[in-house]
């Protein structure tokens, strides 16, 4: 079952071709930019100009898969697309294109929630079928990204119950903006990771753990960001620069400790000690180690996306989630009716 998937939920124009859980071809516009495979693409082009590049990214993906270039859609069974959550105008471009392809080539259409993609990202296989990971439900799923911080029970295929999520900023946003306050540019998540590692990922200063006292599993990071701002303002700038790594490390620890403590609480509340984690922040090795240590306490397990490109926004993960939807005959009844849901929930 071969599925062409499109994800245009935010900045990336992402397209994939998948077969079951295997990725045949995967393209993300920003990667293509680096390779500069075709002319006429200006790197300074606005990030959200999906409309101008969607066709090129689709063609590139089909080319990578070595499908019959004259009739590539003969090799494709279904079209899938991200319906939300995301930026309305961006989602619309992908949905419009998916509808068009679905109708033109008479292929059934599958609508996927972007968060489902992140949940399934740990189960994506390369074209050779690796890594081999069998499903062993139920899982506790954690999504940590620039736009989301969500805890949910992944009970069975396509069956989720949200048990906690952020009420303001996402964890990735907290790191990115914290870095901005430290003068590290934006987004600064990866730089913070590096600086923290250089000083041993220790906590030199104590920043508040938002919402830890609350009994529920909701997250809040905006107060932490503000406490960093006040911390920096209260000290001399020279001091802040001298202690940059120590402050970055302390701040990152506060963000991650919040994630860990809430996840720990979720494990306790649900009794589920098998974790799957997705989203851009899980590219961070410190967080991976902290999560590994956490599940070790409970003799549990944790799965991360097996390849780096699967942590960020991509269409491969959408294709895998779509595969399970196709197996259950969950197709869009009338492609013309499909509309974006910018604040789509699971």
């Amino acid at each position: 079952m071969i599925i062409l998937s499109i994800d245009t939920s935010c900045d990336e124009t992402a397209v994939s071709l998948t077969n079951g859980r295997r990725v045949i071809a995967n393209s993300i516009y920003s990667q293509i930019l680096i390779h500069k495979k075709w002319g006429g693409v200006v790197p300074s082009l606005a990030k959200r100009a999906h409309e101008e590049r969607i066709d090129a990214v689709i063609n590139e993906t089909i080319k990578k898969a070595h499908f019959d270039s004259r009739n590539p859609f003969n090799s494709i069974d279904f079209i899938s697309v991200t319906q939300g959550p995301g930026l309305a105008i961006a989602l619309e471009v992908g949905i419009q294109k998916a509808k068009e392809l679905s109708i033109m080539h008479n292929k059934k259409l599958i609508a996927v929630n972007h968060l489902e993609g992140h949940i399934y990202s740990s189960f994506v296989e390369n074209s050779g079928g690796n890594p081999v990971r069998d499903f062993s439900f139920p899982y506790l799923a954690l999504i940590v990204s620039g736009g989301h911080t969500t805890l949910l029970i992944f009970k069975d295929h396509l069956t989720y119950t949200i048990i906690g999520e952020t009420i303001d900023d996402a964890s990735g946003e907290a790191l990115d903006k914290g870095g901005k306050l430290l003068g590290l540019g934006y987004p600064a998540g990866p730089i913070i990771e590096q600086l923290s590692r250089e000083v041993g990922n220790k906590e030199y200063y104590t920043f508040p753990r938002p919402m830890l006292k609350s009994k529920d599993l909701q997250f809040s990071f905006s107060g932490l960001k503000t406490s960093l701002l006040y911390f920096l303002k209260a000290r001399k700038q020279d001091e802040n620069v001298m202690q940059l790594k120590q402050i970055a490390s302390s701040y990152q620890e506060a963000v991650f400790d919040t994630i860990i403590q809430k996840t720990k609480k979720a494990i306790k509340q649900t009794g589920i000690n098998k974790l799957v984690v997705g989203g851009g922040v899980i590219a961070n090795k410190r967080l991976r180690n902290l999560l590994r240590a956490l599940v070790k306490e409970d003799k549990g397990s944790v799965l991360f996306p097996p390849y780096p490109y699967l942590t960020g926004d991509n269409a491969a993960m959408i294709g895998i989630a779509a595969h399970y939807k196709a197996e259950k005959n969950m197709f869009v009844e009338n492609p013309d009716d499909l509309d974006r849901i910018p604040r789509m929930s699971l």
């Binding site: 939920s9 935010c10 300074s44 606005a46 990030k47 959200r48 100009a49 999906h50 409309e51 959550p85 995301g86 930026l87 309305a88 105008i89 961006a90 990204s145 620039g146 736009g147 952020t166 009420i167 303001d168 900023d169 996402a170 990735g172 946003e173 903006k177 901005k180 306050l181 934006y186 905006s222 960001k225 503000t226 960093l228 701002l229 006040y230 303002k233 910018p342 604040r343 929930s345």
Partner: protein, 354 residues
């Protein structure tokens, strides 16, 4: 006629004259005013005589606070929130009279114009007198108001000068325009006269918690919805990181029945559909991630500039040309946030409505 300088003694003497039913020339936040006891019919008739004011033309009154206002006019709960927000300030608000003051002050429709000025001497006076006094400008009908007590007196005939018991001289007043008159007696707020703040009114609110910031947002939205008419409402939120812009947007969302508002930084904006009776769509934008102005072309925000939409722009200062476009198409409220301590924030609010 006696002339005394402004001060505690001037205020004490004014109270005495008012109690006896006399008329006093007194400075205000806008122009020199003619003051008399608003319940004393003879004093009001005297005032009309000095002003050459034809009977039937309403005369506004000064009150000390909203509580005193509610004793003399009918204030709806929703209006009270707005009034709390704009008063004290250079406004005359028109509301249905409870007919407790001299009826000569009312309009033909039975409404009364009320002022709570942001001017300490008047506030002190009304608190001391503990009763509303007239707030009409010290000029004869149809002539310009006066900014100095002496120039007003020069304009009067000897006969009229004798009708005035006391002049409290506050020197030359800054050339502020007369107050802006807002008619709250109709279902929609109408602007009857444009004072200094006509096109743009600005004031400052201090909050000391996230909840308070949310409440300001709720009040401002309520106020904007009364004024918006056929236009969308746009909140342009300015201020540095961590200052409470998303909190404010959550307050707007809450008011529209949306409990799930989260930071849209990553995606630039989230679109919410609401169950609100007049507002169908809430667009929550965050331009933090915008690097170049041409990126706005791809966001197509203009398509949301229509009736029934409320928009919030975090990092609104980055919107550039878009804002210029907006001033014509929308009711714009600019909220500039400043840190004043860990939980304390100052919100400077400028409202543009044409």
């Amino acid at each position: 006629m006696k002339i005394v300088p402004l001060g505690n003694d001037g205020i004490a003497q004014t109270c005495k004259v008012l109690q006896k039913g006399g008329v006093v020339v007194f400075p205000s936040d806008t122009v020199y005013g003619l003051l008399c006891d608003a319940s004393n019919i003879e004093a009001v008739i005297l005032l009309q005589k000095i002003k050459n004011r034809p009977a039937g033309k309403p005369i506004s009154v000064f009150v000390a606070d909203i509580a005193m206002m509610k004793r003399i006019v009918r204030v709806h709960t929703s209006q009270e929130k707005i009034l709390n927000n704009i008063l004290p300030g250079p406004y005359t608000v028109v509301l249905p009279s409870k007919q407790v003051l001299c009826r000569l002050l009312e309009s033909e429709k039975g409404t009364l114009g009320i002022r709570i000025p942001s001017y300490q001497p008047i506030t002190q006076l009304i608190h001391t007198f503990n009763h509303p006094v007239t707030a009409t400008s010290a000029n004869t009908s149809g002539h310009s108001p006066f900014y100095s007590a002496t120039s007003f007196l020069k304009s009067l005939s000897q006969k009229k000068r004798e009708l005035i018991d006391l002049v409290v001289d506050g020197g030359d007043l800054p050339k502020n325009k007369p107050s802006t008159v807002l008619d709250f007696s109709a279902s929609h707020v109408k602007m009857l006269r444009r004072g200094d703040v006509s096109f743009k009114d600005a004031y400052t609110v201090n909050t000391s918690s996230e909840d308070e910031t949310k409440k300001v947002a709720e009040k401002l939205l309520q106020e904007a919805l009364q004024k918006q008419g056929e236009k969308p409402v746009v909140f342009v939120l300015k201020g540095e990181m961590g200052v409470g812009k998303t909190i404010f947007a959550k307050g707007i969302g809450k008011m529209l029945g949306i409990g799930s508002v989260i930071s849209p930084t990553y995606v630039i904006y989230y679109e919410y559909t609401t169950n609100h009776p007049f507002i169908t769509t809430f667009i929550h934008c965050d331009f933090f991630n915008i690097e170049e102005e041409n990126e706005f072309e791809h966001l197509k925000l203009q398509s949301y500039f229509k009736k029934g939409t409320v928009l919030c722009f975090e990092w609104g200062e980055k919107a550039g040309a878009l804002l210029f476009d907006l001033q014509k198409k929308a009711h714009v409220v600019v909220v500039s946030f400043t840190h004043k301590g860990l939980d304390k924030r100052e919100l400077q609010i400028e409202s543009y409505f044409s």
